[in-house]
Symmetry: C2
Subunit: 279 residues, 2 copies
Amino acid sequence: MDTISENRCFGGTQGVYRHASDATGTDMTFGLFLPAEAADGPVPVLWYLSGLTCTHENAMVKAGAQQWAAEQGIALVFPDTSPRGPGVPDDAAYDLGQGAGFYVNATQDPWAEHFQMWSYVTDELPRALFSRFALDEGRQAITGHSMGGHGALTIAMHFPDRFASVSAFAPICNPMESDWGRKQFTAYLGPNTALWEAHDATVLMRARGFPGPVLIDTGTADQFGNHLGTEAFAAALAARRQHATLRLQPGYDHSYFFVSTFMEDHVSFHAEALYGVTE
Amino acid sequence: MDTISENRCFGGTQGVYRHASDATGTDMTFGLFLPAEAADGPVPVLWYLSGLTCTHENAMVKAGAQQWAAEQGIALVFPDTSPRGPGVPDDAAYDLGQGAGFYVNATQDPWAEHFQMWSYVTDELPRALFSRFALDEGRQAITGHSMGGHGALTIAMHFPDRFASVSAFAPICNPMESDWGRKQFTAYLGPNTALWEAHDATVLMRARGFPGPVLIDTGTADQFGNHLGTEAFAAALAARRQHATLRLQPGYDHSYFFVSTFMEDHVSFHAEALYGVTE
């Protein structure tokens, strides 16, 4: 694993690292914020999955999460959103191919060879992290933005014992019924929609839910609101009687100005779950 | 004036605007954060001047200032660092020409026609802002990073009645003695070093000081530390008995990870001066 950079940040260290991935068959780059407490032993981990067009870097520099993670003594992981590089297939559209892995394992050509982001984020990267850094595998939580919110919700519901809590900012939460979903699932997973259901948060919420708390923030002025499926997911939360908070934030859009505004709340929410604090 | 974007952010609005500048002879773009309180009347203003290579955007998305400005009810202005565009001269080096205006009025060719950033930031942009937005001209403060710290310190000392307080993150504060200064002042102002002195914070601090409080943060691991002139400025502060706090922050470098870490302190510092609060 190569260290690309390490910067002191809110008393801890914001690092960027690169490693060879067996899952994607490429080098993968990720960001990791370690709070000062990591010098004394393993700290809890909050995963942050990013949205379309993002690399590991966007949230790391724009979401303002480090200050709250530092305050709570929690590490932050910022994976990339897809494999990248000259040998990796891509598409002219921003919402398919590089920067748009959708946190699935592709089964269809030309994507199947490299686009194995589900395995990368749920298996390979965790193993690489927990073997190398002072991170507590027993205390993990997960969040994400837009496509990354989709990833956070679906991964959390597949690994209910791994994550104490899940949250999302403007998540894509019903991709089977959205232009942000049908196109990508067709390309990556093929036309059999039964195979898509494992990656649709609304379907998963209806079918199994999540044992911990769920927090969702979505702006009422989200310019991509019609792609998110918030109403279907809201109905699924209610139908399941899921322990959840869904907040529709007046006037906020899909940008990182929205994400950063509510980041403190999300980190506090996860800290409560990770540390078992009840207010 | 054209509105490029407006995003809801920490209860206020992060806007980006473009206007034709007489000073630079180009269109200029700037960022303006208005806290919610601006809906009820003019709010105090904190100017943030950016460093080499930056546009109006870097600090606006990476410094994490809006949350603290929102908390204090203060507006933030993020000017660009130079004129830009195909008709504007540039240099292959990152530290001269576009993105490197150094907050001076150039007198030398080819720069003199457009590089009039002193007039733009101290005269034209303020007039444009105060005539259009709910900003209180009587309550202003100024800060900046690196080259922008140089700008903040020199402008504050030239306009002591305008600014209640001045702070800077890793400022270039003795450019006459630095590779970040001699080259640019020679290019923009010509070889007569007597004309440079009006733009050297250390010279100005020795000669006149500042009537309000000064706060400086610089990292001990700043990779550009040898270009900053911190030791000369520190000596000038002490010699003048300037009301000032100079903090050397252990392990921090020159990045926005450093800036964002201490942003809360800087906004609080300015809020105290702007609102006349004493703790």
